[in-house]
Symmetry: C2
Subunit: 134 residues, 2 copies
């Protein structure tokens, strides 16, 4: 196995390593529904509330509103309200939101390439007598 150090060898174990540095961004973009929202807005362009809901399928309006608000507050999407009747609101990805796409693309590729291996590992583990994770 190839061991790739994150920090210079002389700094290993000297408290230079901060294992939680990615946690804030993980909390921001990997809560439920956020990734699909960002991906569909990246791929489809501006969408209305009901269009996003239809793309996601089973999300409830309360949760969808929560997620859209958070993404808007974080500057990852914009919300534009048109003064029409019936009301029309369009959500659009920002440049900041678009800058996350390499992460989603990598994870998508990784999934295609490696999830079968994960499935094999799970089957092997489950047949090994090791305790099931809670």
């Amino acid at each position: 196995m190839t061991q790739i150090p994150l920090v210079p060898a002389d700094a290993v174990g000297t408290a230079e390593f901060e294992p939680c540095s990615v946690t804030p961004v993980i909390d921001m973009i990997f809560s439920r529904w956020t990734t699909p929202i960002l991906r569909v807005l990246s791929a489809e362009g501006p969408l209305r509330f009901s269009e996003i809901r239809d793309w996601l399928g089973t999300v409830t309006p309360k949760v969808l509103t929560q997620r859209l608000r958070q993404l808007e507050r974080d500057g990852l999407i914009t919300r534009e309200e048109f003064g029409e009747v019936p009301p029309r609101v369009e959500y659009m990805i920002t440049d900041l939101g678009l800058s996350l796409r390499p992460a989603f693309d990598f994870l998508g590729s990784w999934s295609d390439e490696h999830m079968p291996q994960v499935e094999v590992a799970r089957l092997a583990y489950d047949g090994s007598g090791r305790p099931r994770p809670a």
Copy 2:
């Protein structure tokens, strides 16, 4: 979290989108503590239970055990038990686990580069009169 389709229910088979394949891998590697565990094992090499706990700081033994079991079952880390007294157990990243490092590295870089912009967006939003996300 379950798999979230990225295809409207009435457009299955006709859309150019595939199912949201990133959701399972997100569930796997972005639950609490898992990313720091993978990162510290990538950076520091094999570590004992108590060493990982010390790196993470505030994790409780119950939760740490859960996470280590899940990562082991998914094939991202290995667990080696030495028949010694007092007991010694070492956890080590696998090649499969190591293959996720580009994702963590990207998110770390993205955090360094863009989180200040997120902070600015949050302040602007909070001063704009828009409703606070729940």
